[in-house]
């Protein structure tokens, strides 16, 4: 099979790039995503705070996703969901897998809009056991908001980025006890706006210059040892759930080793991590137009 433009990832960036490329005159576009619905991470972000720059008001993630999906629907972009892109080759082809089979798709240009992945605790030199009850923030958000799961009651959050903030508020609002956010630096990592909205009102402490040194518990996590890096020693804190918000890494594995061919473009969080969807989208629109030419 052939297409002029293949876009991998139907999150905010992929959708925006596809729509912009169509509007710029490209009439043969395939937009593929492994998920069953478009929007990438947006459907799981039930909080308000999306699209202020574009719409002048703050939408929830699903509302924002609906807005951009509506525009996409007015184009002739072929959206293929439930489809994993397995590989991209230097001869300008990609292999797509879904329940009906494999498709080898030849393209003229490719936009990678595959988002990012979360750094996992395995990458840190944290000692102790490896019990159940440790989730990344994005994973927790997806499990709670899209699958209605209850993860735990006594929550400790490692990392004070936006994702950590948003999950702290969500746990607090649903009646869980958020023990603290633990941050190794002297200042929190997320946006001030999110700090004032998510952390302050719920009086959730942020422990600065502190890290999780050790994990306890053999079946389910029962607690951690916190280490105060400014010489304040160590303390054990009981918890039944540890949320890790350690940062996002652009997801570019599909094109690892391909170099920088002129037919390859990056958009959204796989290009660089965007704090705001508006910035991911405006960048993606630019890239969509460039790829359409």
């Amino acid at each position: 099979m052939k297409t002029e433009l293949l876009i991998i990832g139907a999150g905010a960036a992929g959708i925006a790039a596809a729509t912009a490329a169509w509007d710029a005159g490209c009439r043969d576009i395939v937009l593929a995503d492994r998920r069953e619905r478009p929007g990438g991470i947006l459907p799981q972000c039930l909080h308000e705070g999306f699209g202020h720059a574009q719409y002048g008001r703050e939408l929830t993630g699903p509302e924002y996703a609906q807005q951009i999906a509506q525009k996409l629907n007015q184009t002739g972009v072929r959206l293929v969901l439930g489809t994993e892109v397995l590989a991209v080759y230097g001869n300008k082809s990609a292999v797509l897998s879904d329940r009906s089979g494999l498709t080898q798709l030849h393209f003229e240009r490719l936009i990678l809009a595959s988002g990012c992945r979360e750094k996992s605790i395995g990458s840190l030199p944290v000692v102790g056991t490896r019990p159940a009850g440790i989730f990344t923030a994005g994973q927790a958000q997806e499990m709670i908001n899209l699958h209605g799961q209850d993860l735990g009651k006594e929550i400790l959050i490692l990392g004070s980025g936006d994702l950590g903030f948003i999950m702290a508020r969500q746990f607090a609002q649903s009646g869980k006890h958020v023990i603290a956010l633990v941050e190794k630096e002297a200042h929190y990592g997320g946006m001030a706006r999110n700090y004032h909205r998510c952390v302050e009102p719920y009086k959730i402490p942020i422990l600065y210059h502190t890290t999780v040194a050790e994990i306890h518990g053999s079946g389910r996590i029962t607690g951690v040892t916190l280490r105060h890096l400014d010489g304040g020693g160590e303390e054990e804190i009981p918890c039944d759930t540890l949320i890790t918000a350690l940062g996002l890494l652009p997801e570019r594995d599909l094109v690892r080793g391909l170099g920088e061919p002129e037919w390859l473009f990056f958009a959204g969080n796989c290009h660089r991590v965007h704090d705001l969807v508006d910035s991911a989208v405006s960048e993606a629109e630019r890239i969509g137009r460039a790829a359409a030419e």
Partner: protein, 479 residues
């Protein structure tokens, strides 16, 4: 009460292979394992090397078994349909003392018939593995060394044993054994078993299990070890097993390119800490050694650290024992006590050794219908695209990727559950889900759903590795 000819206690590598080899005989056999799955003990965490055999004292059982086991590892893995990579090993030295150790090992290996062994100059070794730190003075190259996934091998042996008629009893812990003239009575939390013979493969607890009924002069004094796993996509990964022989005679160090493609680094040394918890001292040792021997590795690409426990066998006076300990305190009772490295390499040999003795004692006939072959879970990662497409046409579940880091499909997960995986770790050990760089954060929910569906339980009851490790609800014990 259930009656068997032979009861094997412990479903680690050794128990699984003892059961497999016993099933070559016309015997009624049970394999009893305390945990929810096989290969969750020592066998789940080790260095994964199939040793060539030059390390051991010539003439010992350990030396003979290792060389023989290595020679037949390809055919064993073909029979059991388990990936085995004979990538070869380079043991490297950085100075005269270590050079001498390597020479001695070389001569040792030659005298035992380890094939293709070569002593290389430093430059030759660096040419073969440019990622080695400069200054290598010599290297012992063993092309026959290889690597296998230990739990994959153990699970395969267990499946093969079950297919040949043994009874697998999980969640069954032995707490008492008594001996009458011609039989053993084995009490567990579930049932009482009677057997004409017992093979004790209880790993870390093998000394204590024997002591339930007979004294033992060997005691297990465990110590811990730590490992790091580096992402398969990291740069400058070696293609051979790298073994570092330190100049000061201290603890060696391994870097093993695993069959999954990741790089295993370790083990560390540690004192006093004996559980499966990663230790601070140990992990910094591994970081330090890895950085020194393979300076090109980006240690930010570490995706996991884990701990192992060594079952060191000691005599009454505290002295350590170098050989394999196989005790036979009374007719019909065998114990494998404190089998550490190279117990993975020799698992089938050890299993066959005890099986033959038990069969002889029980005057058993051959099991004419024994089939040594087992078919593994059909995996689509890395296979030619036409075959992958054909697999999807036959079963659409092969088209649905569940774990995107390791490229594991729904069909593989379902097969794993049908074969006996009941936990997230059980699926992971059988298919590789969650072993990649995101460490399961993207596939865990899907796996919970599939496990609950297939096992007919609620999602809240799904565990990581058995009761008490529920994923949801903050652990169920507190509810």
């Amino acid at each position: 009460m259930q009656s068997f000819d032979v009861v094997v206690i412990g479903g680690g590598l050794l128990g699984c292979f003892a059961a497999r080899n016993l099933s070559r005989w016309d015997l009624h056999i049970a394999l009893i394992e305390a945990r929810e799955d096989v290969c969750t003990g020592i066998s789940r965490a080790n260095t994964a090397i199939v040793y060539p055999g030059y390390d051991h004292r010539p003439g010992t059982l350990k030396a003979k078994m290792t060389v023989r086991a290595n020679g037949s590892f390809d055919s064993l893995c073909r029979e059991l349909d388990v990936p085995f990579c004979r990538c070869g090993s380079l043991m490297v030295s950085y100075g005269e003392q270590a050079d001498a150790v390597l020479r001695k090992k070389y001569e040792n290996g030659l005298s035992m018939g380890v094939s293709e062994l070569r002593l290389l100059r430093g430059e030759e070794a660096v040419k073969m593995e440019p990622c080695l730190a400069p200054g290598v003075t010599s290297a012992l190259y063993a092309p026959t060394a290889g690597t296998v996934n230990p739990w994959e091998l153990g699970i395969a042996a267990c499946e093969n044993a079950v297919a040949n008629g043994i009874a697998l009893c999980l969640n069954t812990r032995v707490f008492a054994i008594s001996h009458t003239t011609d039989s053993y009575r084995i009490e567990t939390n579930r049932d009482v078993f009677s057997a004409r013979a017992v093979i004790n493969c209880a790993g870390l607890y093998a000394d204590r299990v024997q002591e339930l009924v007979f004294p033992t002069s060997v005691h297990i004094v465990p110590d811990g070890a730590d490992y790091l796993v580096l992402d398969k996509a990291a740069a400058n990964l070696p293609t051979h097993i790298i073994q570092y022989e330190p100049e000061d005679g201290g603890k060696g160090f391994n870097a093993v390119p695993t069959v999954e493609g990741s790089l295993l680094l370790g083990p560390s040394e540690r004192d006093n800490e004996t559980d499966f918890a990663v230790s601070e001292k140990g992990i910094s040792f591994v970081y330090g050694r890895a950085g020194r021997i393979l300076p090109g590795l980006d240690l930010n690409e570490v995706i996991r650290s884990f701990a192992a426990v060594r079952p060191n066998p000691r005599r009454e006076d505290g002295s350590s024992i170098g050989s394999f300990v196989i005790e036979n305190p009374a007719p019909g009772f065998w114990s494998l006590i404190g089998i550490k490295t190279p117990g993975l390499t020799c698992a089938n040999e050890l299993g066959s050794y005890v099986a033959e003795r038990a069969a002889e004692q029980l005057a058993a006939e051959r099991n004419e219908s024994f089939d040594p072959c087992r078919k593994g879970i059909k995996k689509v990662r890395g296979i030619p695209l036409e075959r992958r497409n054909a697999a999807i046409q036959a079963d659409p579940n092969f088209g649905e990727v569940i774990c995107c880091c390791e490229d594991v499909t729904k069909a593989e997960v379902l097969d794993a559950i049908r074969r006996g995986a009941t936990t997230l770790d059980g699926v992971k050990r059988r298919t590789g889900t969650g072993m990649g760089r995101c460490q399961g954060s993207r596939c865990q929910q899907k796996l919970i759903t599939l496990l609950a569906q297939e096992l007919g339980i609620s999602e809240e009851e799904v565990t990581k590795d058995g009761k008490g490790s529920e994923i949801l609800g903050g652990g169920r014990d507190e509810n």
